[in-house]
Protein backbone atom coordinates (compact mmCIF):
# COMPACT_ATOMS: atom_id res chain seq x y z
CA UNK A 1 0.00 0.00 0.00
CA UNK A 2 1.16 3.49 -0.81
CA UNK A 3 2.42 5.54 2.10
CA UNK A 4 -0.20 8.25 1.81
CA UNK A 5 -2.95 5.73 1.31
CA UNK A 6 -2.25 4.29 4.72
CA UNK A 7 -1.95 7.69 6.37
CA UNK A 8 -5.28 8.78 4.88
CA UNK A 9 -6.92 5.52 5.84
CA UNK A 10 -5.81 5.86 9.45
CA UNK A 11 -6.97 9.48 9.62
CA UNK A 12 -10.31 8.65 8.06
CA UNK A 13 -11.01 5.69 10.32
CA UNK A 14 -9.91 7.41 13.49
CA UNK A 15 -11.97 10.48 12.63
CA UNK A 16 -15.09 8.40 13.00
CA UNK A 17 -13.89 6.65 16.14
CA UNK A 18 -12.54 9.76 17.91
CA UNK A 19 -15.72 11.66 17.10
CA UNK A 20 -17.86 8.91 18.54
CA UNK A 21 -16.01 8.27 21.78
CA UNK A 22 -13.38 10.98 22.16
CA UNK A 23 -9.60 10.88 22.33
CA UNK A 24 -9.60 8.82 25.51
CA UNK A 25 -12.41 6.52 24.48
CA UNK A 26 -10.56 4.91 21.59
CA UNK A 27 -7.39 2.84 21.69
CA UNK A 28 -4.80 2.72 18.94
CA UNK A 29 -5.31 -1.04 19.04
CA UNK A 30 -8.89 -0.55 17.92
CA UNK A 31 -7.93 1.96 15.25
CA UNK A 32 -5.20 -0.22 13.78
CA UNK A 33 -7.47 -3.24 13.84
CA UNK A 34 -10.22 -1.33 12.03
CA UNK A 35 -7.67 -0.18 9.45
CA UNK A 36 -6.32 -3.70 9.05
CA UNK A 37 -2.74 -2.75 9.84
CA UNK A 38 -0.33 -3.20 12.69
CA UNK A 39 -0.56 -1.06 15.78
CA UNK A 40 3.01 0.09 15.29
CA UNK A 41 2.02 1.94 12.12
CA UNK A 42 0.42 4.68 14.19
CA UNK A 43 3.59 5.49 16.05
CA UNK A 44 5.57 5.21 12.81
CA UNK A 45 3.39 7.57 10.78
CA UNK A 46 2.06 9.95 13.42
CA UNK A 47 4.46 9.63 16.34
CA UNK A 48 1.74 8.21 18.57
CA UNK A 49 -1.93 8.46 19.35
CA UNK A 50 -1.92 12.19 20.06
CA UNK A 51 -0.16 12.86 16.79
CA UNK A 52 -2.90 11.00 14.97
CA UNK A 53 -5.56 12.95 16.84
CA UNK A 54 -3.82 16.18 15.92
CA UNK A 55 -3.92 15.23 12.24
CA UNK A 56 -7.61 14.46 12.52
CA UNK A 57 -8.28 17.79 14.19
CA UNK A 58 -6.28 19.67 11.58
CA UNK A 59 -8.32 18.13 8.78
CA UNK A 60 -11.60 18.81 10.58
CA UNK A 61 -10.92 22.51 11.03
CA UNK A 62 -9.12 23.15 7.75
CA UNK A 63 -12.46 23.89 6.09
CA UNK A 64 -12.92 26.96 8.29
CA UNK A 65 -10.28 28.69 6.18
CA UNK A 66 -12.85 29.02 3.40
CA UNK A 67 -15.32 31.07 5.42
CA UNK A 68 -14.32 34.11 3.36
CA UNK A 69 -16.42 32.70 0.54
CA UNK A 70 -19.48 34.21 2.14
CA UNK A 71 -17.96 37.65 1.60
CA UNK A 72 -17.04 37.17 -2.05
CA UNK A 73 -20.52 37.74 -3.38
CA UNK A 74 -21.16 41.40 -4.04
CA UNK A 75 -24.08 41.75 -1.67
CA UNK A 76 -25.36 43.49 1.42
CA UNK A 77 -24.90 42.41 5.02
CA UNK A 78 -28.20 40.56 5.13
CA UNK A 79 -27.31 38.36 2.17
CA UNK A 80 -23.96 37.60 3.76
CA UNK A 81 -25.71 36.44 6.91
CA UNK A 82 -27.87 34.14 4.85
CA UNK A 83 -24.74 32.90 3.10
CA UNK A 84 -23.20 32.15 6.48
CA UNK A 85 -26.24 30.18 7.64
CA UNK A 86 -26.14 28.13 4.47
CA UNK A 87 -22.40 27.68 4.75
CA UNK A 88 -22.53 26.32 8.29
CA UNK A 89 -25.41 23.99 7.42
CA UNK A 90 -23.47 22.61 4.45
CA UNK A 91 -20.41 22.10 6.64
CA UNK A 92 -22.34 19.97 9.11
CA UNK A 93 -24.19 18.08 6.38
CA UNK A 94 -20.96 17.26 4.54
CA UNK A 95 -19.15 16.29 7.72
CA UNK A 96 -21.25 14.80 10.49
CA UNK A 97 -18.17 14.45 12.71
CA UNK A 98 -17.26 18.12 12.85
CA UNK A 99 -19.72 19.13 15.58
CA UNK A 100 -18.37 16.55 17.98
CA UNK A 101 -14.79 17.75 17.70
CA UNK A 102 -16.06 21.32 17.85
CA UNK A 103 -17.98 20.92 21.11
CA UNK A 104 -15.49 18.54 22.63
CA UNK A 105 -12.60 20.95 22.09
CA UNK A 106 -14.61 23.92 23.33
CA UNK A 107 -15.68 22.23 26.55
CA UNK A 108 -12.72 19.90 27.15
CA UNK A 109 -9.84 21.38 25.19
CA UNK A 110 -6.82 19.26 24.42
CA UNK A 111 -3.32 20.67 23.98
CA UNK A 112 -4.20 21.26 20.32
CA UNK A 113 -6.98 23.77 20.97
CA UNK A 114 -4.82 26.92 20.88
CA UNK A 115 -3.03 26.02 17.66
CA UNK A 116 -5.78 24.37 15.63
CA UNK A 117 -9.25 25.08 16.98
CA UNK A 118 -9.13 28.60 18.40
CA UNK A 119 -7.72 30.22 15.23
CA UNK A 120 -10.33 28.50 13.07
CA UNK A 121 -13.26 29.59 15.22
CA UNK A 122 -11.74 33.01 15.75
CA UNK A 123 -11.55 33.66 12.05
CA UNK A 124 -15.22 32.85 11.52
CA UNK A 125 -16.32 35.06 14.39
CA UNK A 126 -14.14 37.91 13.21
CA UNK A 127 -15.67 37.85 9.75
CA UNK A 128 -19.19 37.65 11.12
CA UNK A 129 -18.55 40.58 13.43
CA UNK A 130 -17.46 42.65 10.45
CA UNK A 131 -20.66 41.77 8.63
CA UNK A 132 -22.79 42.91 11.56
CA UNK A 133 -20.78 46.12 11.83
CA UNK A 134 -21.26 46.72 8.14
CA UNK A 135 -25.00 46.24 8.55
CA UNK A 136 -25.08 48.72 11.41
CA UNK A 137 -23.05 51.37 9.60
CA UNK A 138 -25.27 51.15 6.51
CA UNK A 139 -28.37 51.59 8.69
CA UNK A 140 -29.73 48.17 7.80
CA UNK A 141 -29.31 46.87 11.36
CA UNK A 142 -30.21 48.48 14.65
CA UNK A 143 -27.60 50.87 16.03
CA UNK A 144 -27.76 49.45 19.55
CA UNK A 145 -26.60 45.95 18.63
CA UNK A 146 -23.49 44.60 20.29
CA UNK A 147 -21.78 42.97 17.29
CA UNK A 148 -20.14 40.08 19.17
CA UNK A 149 -23.26 39.19 21.14
CA UNK A 150 -25.26 39.34 17.94
CA UNK A 151 -22.86 37.02 16.14
CA UNK A 152 -23.01 34.50 18.97
CA UNK A 153 -26.82 34.63 18.93
CA UNK A 154 -26.86 33.86 15.23
CA UNK A 155 -24.19 31.16 15.34
CA UNK A 156 -25.87 29.62 18.36
CA UNK A 157 -29.25 29.34 16.65
CA UNK A 158 -27.83 27.32 13.80
CA UNK A 159 -25.28 25.29 15.74
CA UNK A 160 -27.76 24.26 18.41
CA UNK A 161 -30.09 22.85 15.78
CA UNK A 162 -27.47 20.22 15.05
CA UNK A 163 -26.30 19.85 18.63
CA UNK A 164 -29.81 19.06 19.83
CA UNK A 165 -30.54 16.48 17.14
CA UNK A 166 -30.42 13.48 19.45
CA UNK A 167 -32.82 15.08 21.92
CA UNK A 168 -35.32 16.42 19.36
CA UNK A 169 -35.52 13.79 16.65
CA UNK A 170 -38.99 12.79 17.79
CA UNK A 171 -40.17 16.40 17.60
CA UNK A 172 -38.90 17.59 14.25
CA UNK A 173 -37.59 16.15 11.04
CA UNK A 174 -33.84 16.73 10.87
CA UNK A 175 -33.38 15.53 7.32
CA UNK A 176 -31.61 17.78 4.78
CA UNK A 177 -34.80 18.18 2.75
CA UNK A 178 -36.05 20.57 5.39
CA UNK A 179 -32.85 22.67 5.41
CA UNK A 180 -34.27 25.29 3.06
CA UNK A 181 -37.28 25.83 5.32
CA UNK A 182 -34.91 26.12 8.25
CA UNK A 183 -32.81 28.80 6.57
CA UNK A 184 -35.90 30.88 5.88
CA UNK A 185 -37.18 30.38 9.38
CA UNK A 186 -33.94 31.30 11.10
CA UNK A 187 -33.45 34.30 8.84
CA UNK A 188 -36.96 35.45 9.75
CA UNK A 189 -36.42 35.06 13.47
CA UNK A 190 -32.99 36.63 13.38
CA UNK A 191 -34.02 39.63 11.32
CA UNK A 192 -37.61 40.31 12.37
CA UNK A 193 -37.94 38.47 15.68
CA UNK A 194 -40.91 36.49 16.81
CA UNK A 195 -43.36 39.26 17.66
CA UNK A 196 -46.53 39.57 15.68
CA UNK A 197 -46.72 42.66 13.51
CA UNK A 198 -50.01 43.59 15.14
CA UNK A 199 -49.70 46.46 17.59
CA UNK A 200 -48.32 44.84 20.71
CA UNK A 201 -51.00 45.88 23.17
CA UNK A 202 -52.97 43.24 25.08
CA UNK A 203 -54.44 41.33 22.19
CA UNK A 204 -56.23 38.52 23.99
Amino acid sequence: MDKNDLRNKLVSISTRLFSERGLNGVSIREISKAAGVSISMISYHFGGKEGLYSSVLQEQFSGFEHIEEINKVDSDALSKIEAYIRWIIVRHRDNPYLLRFYTSELTNPTQFFPLIVQPAIGKVIQILVHIIEEGISTNKFRKDLNPVDTVLAMAGMVTYYFLSTLATQELINHSPERDEVLVRHYMDIFTKGILSSFPSGNAE
Copy 2:
Protein backbone atom coordinates in the same frame (compact mmCIF):
# COMPACT_ATOMS: atom_id res chain seq x y z
CA MET B 1 -16.68 9.18 58.07
CA ASP B 2 -20.42 8.89 57.68
CA LYS B 3 -21.62 6.75 54.81
CA ASN B 4 -23.34 9.55 52.95
CA ASP B 5 -20.46 11.92 53.50
CA LEU B 6 -18.20 9.62 51.54
CA ARG B 7 -20.75 9.06 48.80
CA ASN B 8 -21.26 12.80 48.42
CA LYS B 9 -17.55 13.44 48.46
CA LEU B 10 -16.94 10.92 45.70
CA VAL B 11 -19.75 12.33 43.58
CA SER B 12 -18.57 15.89 44.10
CA ILE B 13 -14.95 15.16 43.26
CA SER B 14 -15.72 13.01 40.25
CA THR B 15 -18.17 15.59 38.92
CA ARG B 16 -15.26 17.95 38.42
CA LEU B 17 -12.97 15.30 36.97
CA PHE B 18 -15.54 13.71 34.63
CA SER B 19 -16.60 17.13 33.39
CA GLU B 20 -13.00 18.07 32.62
CA ARG B 21 -11.88 14.92 30.87
CA GLY B 22 -14.93 12.76 30.29
CA LEU B 23 -15.88 9.29 31.51
CA ASN B 24 -12.97 7.64 29.73
CA GLY B 25 -10.44 10.31 30.62
CA VAL B 26 -10.52 9.70 34.35
CA SER B 27 -9.57 6.57 36.27
CA ILE B 28 -11.18 5.45 39.49
CA ARG B 29 -7.65 5.35 40.89
CA GLU B 30 -7.38 9.11 40.38
CA ILE B 31 -10.82 9.76 41.83
CA SER B 32 -10.20 7.70 44.95
CA LYS B 33 -6.81 9.31 45.45
CA ALA B 34 -8.34 12.80 45.17
CA ALA B 35 -11.00 11.79 47.70
CA GLY B 36 -8.40 10.32 50.01
CA VAL B 37 -10.05 6.91 50.18
CA SER B 38 -9.37 3.45 48.83
CA ILE B 39 -10.15 2.59 45.25
CA SER B 40 -12.41 -0.22 46.41
CA MET B 41 -14.85 2.30 47.88
CA ILE B 42 -16.10 3.16 44.42
CA SER B 43 -17.12 -0.38 43.63
CA TYR B 44 -18.57 -0.75 47.11
CA HIS B 45 -20.72 2.39 47.02
CA PHE B 46 -21.54 2.70 43.34
CA GLY B 47 -20.98 -0.75 41.88
CA GLY B 48 -18.14 0.50 39.70
CA LYS B 49 -16.99 3.45 37.68
CA GLU B 50 -20.08 3.60 35.47
CA GLY B 51 -22.33 3.56 38.51
CA LEU B 52 -20.48 6.56 39.88
CA TYR B 53 -20.79 8.36 36.55
CA SER B 54 -24.49 7.61 36.51
CA SER B 55 -24.89 9.17 39.97
CA VAL B 56 -23.02 12.25 38.79
CA LEU B 57 -25.23 12.53 35.72
CA GLN B 58 -28.38 12.11 37.78
CA GLU B 59 -27.38 14.96 40.07
CA GLN B 60 -26.42 17.19 37.14
CA PHE B 61 -29.76 16.85 35.41
CA SER B 62 -31.98 16.73 38.48
CA GLY B 63 -32.27 20.53 38.39
CA PHE B 64 -34.12 20.34 35.08
CA GLU B 65 -37.14 19.11 37.01
CA HIS B 66 -37.67 22.64 38.30
CA ILE B 67 -38.10 24.21 34.89
CA GLU B 68 -41.82 24.56 35.62
CA GLU B 69 -40.94 27.49 37.86
CA ILE B 70 -40.86 29.72 34.81
CA ASN B 71 -44.56 28.99 34.30
CA LYS B 72 -45.65 29.70 37.84
CA VAL B 73 -45.64 33.44 37.51
CA ASP B 74 -48.96 34.76 36.28
CA SER B 75 -47.62 36.36 33.15
CA ASP B 76 -47.74 36.37 29.37
CA ALA B 77 -45.66 34.27 26.98
CA LEU B 78 -43.02 36.96 26.57
CA SER B 79 -42.33 37.18 30.28
CA LYS B 80 -42.05 33.42 30.45
CA ILE B 81 -39.43 33.50 27.72
CA GLU B 82 -37.46 36.04 29.68
CA ALA B 83 -37.86 33.85 32.76
CA TYR B 84 -36.45 30.92 30.79
CA ILE B 85 -33.42 32.89 29.63
CA ARG B 86 -32.70 33.95 33.19
CA TRP B 87 -33.28 30.43 34.44
CA ILE B 88 -30.81 28.85 32.03
CA ILE B 89 -28.19 31.52 32.77
CA VAL B 90 -28.53 30.91 36.50
CA ARG B 91 -28.20 27.17 35.96
CA HIS B 92 -24.88 27.57 34.15
CA ARG B 93 -23.60 30.18 36.60
CA ASP B 94 -24.44 27.98 39.60
CA ASN B 95 -22.98 24.88 38.02
CA PRO B 96 -20.09 25.36 35.59
CA TYR B 97 -19.90 21.60 34.98
CA LEU B 98 -23.38 21.18 33.59
CA LEU B 99 -22.65 22.33 30.04
CA ARG B 100 -19.90 19.76 29.61
CA PHE B 101 -22.11 16.83 30.57
CA TYR B 102 -24.87 18.33 28.46
CA THR B 103 -22.84 18.59 25.25
CA SER B 104 -20.91 15.41 25.89
CA GLU B 105 -24.08 13.36 26.29
CA LEU B 106 -25.74 14.99 23.28
CA THR B 107 -22.81 14.34 20.95
CA ASN B 108 -21.37 11.16 22.50
CA PRO B 109 -24.19 9.61 24.47
CA THR B 110 -23.46 6.97 27.07
CA GLN B 111 -25.87 4.22 28.02
CA PHE B 112 -27.42 6.66 30.51
CA PHE B 113 -28.62 9.16 27.94
CA PRO B 114 -32.08 7.65 27.40
CA LEU B 115 -32.91 7.34 31.09
CA ILE B 116 -31.33 10.48 32.55
CA VAL B 117 -30.51 13.08 29.92
CA GLN B 118 -33.19 12.76 27.25
CA PRO B 119 -36.14 13.07 29.68
CA ALA B 120 -34.60 16.14 31.33
CA ILE B 121 -33.98 17.95 28.04
CA GLY B 122 -37.30 16.76 26.64
CA LYS B 123 -39.22 18.28 29.53
CA VAL B 124 -37.62 21.68 29.05
CA ILE B 125 -38.29 21.69 25.32
CA GLN B 126 -41.87 20.59 25.82
CA ILE B 127 -42.58 23.46 28.21
CA LEU B 128 -40.93 25.98 25.94
CA VAL B 129 -42.95 24.76 22.96
CA HIS B 130 -46.13 25.32 24.95
CA ILE B 131 -45.05 28.86 25.73
CA ILE B 132 -44.45 29.63 22.06
CA GLU B 133 -47.81 28.08 21.14
CA GLU B 134 -49.48 30.17 23.80
CA GLY B 135 -47.85 33.29 22.36
CA ILE B 136 -49.07 32.42 18.90
CA SER B 137 -52.63 31.70 19.97
CA THR B 138 -52.87 35.01 21.86
CA ASN B 139 -51.63 36.88 18.79
CA LYS B 140 -48.47 38.07 20.53
CA PHE B 141 -46.23 36.01 18.26
CA ARG B 142 -46.27 35.57 14.52
CA LYS B 143 -48.67 32.93 13.22
CA ASP B 144 -46.13 31.39 10.85
CA LEU B 145 -43.66 30.33 13.54
CA ASN B 146 -42.76 26.68 13.81
CA PRO B 147 -42.83 26.25 17.60
CA VAL B 148 -40.07 23.64 17.86
CA ASP B 149 -37.70 25.48 15.51
CA THR B 150 -38.38 28.67 17.43
CA VAL B 151 -37.60 27.03 20.75
CA LEU B 152 -34.33 25.64 19.43
CA ALA B 153 -33.36 29.06 18.08
CA MET B 154 -33.94 30.61 21.48
CA ALA B 155 -32.26 27.87 23.49
CA GLY B 156 -29.36 27.89 21.04
CA MET B 157 -28.73 31.60 21.43
CA VAL B 158 -28.30 31.33 25.17
CA THR B 159 -26.54 27.98 25.32
CA TYR B 160 -24.00 28.92 22.68
CA TYR B 161 -22.99 31.98 24.66
CA PHE B 162 -21.63 29.64 27.33
CA LEU B 163 -20.41 27.00 24.90
CA SER B 164 -18.28 29.52 23.04
CA THR B 165 -16.69 31.04 26.13
CA LEU B 166 -13.26 29.57 25.55
CA ALA B 167 -13.14 30.85 21.98
CA THR B 168 -14.51 34.34 22.67
CA GLN B 169 -13.05 35.37 26.00
CA GLU B 170 -10.77 37.86 24.27
CA LEU B 171 -13.72 39.44 22.48
CA ILE B 172 -16.31 39.90 25.20
CA ASN B 173 -16.50 39.94 28.94
CA HIS B 174 -18.14 36.73 30.12
CA SER B 175 -18.42 37.70 33.76
CA PRO B 176 -21.80 37.47 35.51
CA GLU B 177 -21.97 41.24 35.93
CA ARG B 178 -22.84 41.50 32.27
CA ASP B 179 -25.62 38.89 32.44
CA GLU B 180 -28.36 41.49 32.80
CA VAL B 181 -27.21 43.27 29.63
CA LEU B 182 -27.12 39.91 27.89
CA VAL B 183 -30.70 39.07 28.85
CA ARG B 184 -31.92 42.40 27.47
CA HIS B 185 -29.89 41.97 24.29
CA TYR B 186 -31.05 38.42 23.60
CA MET B 187 -34.66 39.32 24.34
CA ASP B 188 -34.37 42.21 21.89
CA ILE B 189 -32.88 40.06 19.15
CA PHE B 190 -35.29 37.22 19.72
CA THR B 191 -38.40 39.39 19.79
CA LYS B 192 -37.62 42.22 17.38
CA GLY B 193 -34.76 40.86 15.30
CA ILE B 194 -31.75 42.82 14.19
CA LEU B 195 -33.25 44.97 11.45
CA SER B 196 -33.31 48.67 11.87
CA SER B 197 -36.79 50.11 12.31
CA PHE B 198 -36.17 52.46 9.40
CA PRO B 199 -38.04 51.48 6.26
CA SER B 200 -35.96 48.64 4.87
CA GLY B 201 -35.26 50.09 1.42
CA ASN B 202 -31.68 50.83 0.39
CA ALA B 203 -30.72 53.17 3.13
CA GLU B 204 -27.11 53.90 2.27
